[in-house]
Amino acid sequence: MFFLFSQNSSNDYLSDPDVGFMLAFQKGDQHSFEVIMKKYFPRLLNFIYRYVGNRELAEDLTQEVFVRVYKAAHSYAPKSKLQTWLYTIAKNISLNELRRSKYYTISLDEPVYSKGESLLRQVSDKTVNLPDKVLLEDEKASIVMEAIQSLPENQRMAVILRRYDNLSYEEIALAMKTSVKAVKSLLSRAKENLREKLKNVL
């Protein structure tokens, strides 16, 4: 049997089923692309939403992630798990958006979503002894979003990837293009900042 070329069987990432879907899309299988979208769109949406703090913007940016994936498909060659690659693209797009709007600030009136409904943020009043006040779930969500948004960009990203997306230190390091040691340091500082921010409500 005559072979022109054969697949590189030594690529470790070929065992990743998501990589398989991406390669199938590369061969023209549009259904495979939709499988990837259905799996990762909600995850990346939440990642970006927690990072930029705006739902509509997060939807646009998440769509942008998949537009870039679509356009890059013809030259795609697996060098990591597909998940890592997608998070890297999402991270870059989110960072670019924040830096594009250089004086971007979170409006305290920006709605935060809880239980599918939007609600206005509530700024924690330091004069109120919050542990005595019974916080509603919606208020807690608002306080959490404010606390996360108050973190520096890299700490924020590390916290979201670790706390909500359950990525390992190695996966976070790959997505953020840094070392595991740097990721641990970021998380340590982020946790201290969050402790300081949330101590009045805990």
């Binding site: 005559f2 072979f3 070329f5 023209g28 769509q63 679509y70 013809h74 979503y113 402790r195």
Partner: protein, 170 residues
């Protein structure tokens, strides 16, 4: 271990990501230091408190909106090329597909050669007598250099004359 040093390790301690010796040292310090113990407790609670931020769902029709955007942003010929690239991805051609492709190329070449030969036959069949005579003269002229090199014509001449003389003698 001092409080300042323990607090550096607290995050990893809570994640159970310390070497056994370090873990034991931190654990021992927390057992006797109320301040660090409360600090660790707040770190843990604030991390858990982040869970109050719920997950949101994509708005309806996000996939169809995506394809609409693709149809607007990606030119039709690029979309067509996406499919074609998949078909002609030489890095991943299967053996059967490769064989079929080679046979197709050979087949096309054979058909081309056949029609080339037919064209030549047609041309030859339609030559006039004067064209044929000219071709013969051309062939002769092409060979004249070779003929000049030979003494064979002289030999033929001798043989011819000898034969006639012998015949006359007998």
């Amino acid at each position: 271990m001092e409080c300042k040093k323990v607090r550096i390790f607290l995050s990893d301690y809570l994640e159970d990501d310390l070497e056994p010796a370090e873990k034991e040292s931190v654990g021992a310090h927390l057992g006797v230091c109320e301040g660090c113990r409360q600090h660790a407790e707040l770190l843990k609670k604030s991390w858990e408190f982040l869970g109050h931020l719920e997950t949101i769902q994509p708005s309806e029709g996000y996939i169809s909106r995506f394809w609409t955007r693709i149809s607007q942003e990606v030119p039709w010929h690029e979309k067509w090329l996406v499919s074609l690239r998949g078909l002609l991805n030489f890095r991943k051609l299967s053996p059967a597909y490769t064989s079929a492709l080679v046979l197709l190329i050979i087949g096309l070449f054979s058909v081309w050669t056949f029609y080339q030969a037919k064209d030549s036959e047609f041309a030859l069949a339609n030559l006039s007598d004067s064209d044929i005579e000219m071709i013969e003269y051309i062939e002769l002229a092409e060979n004249i250099d070779i003929i000049d090199e030979l003494d064979i014509l002289v030999d033929f001449d001798i043989i011819e004359n000898v034969a006639i003389e012998d015949l006359e003698r007998t």
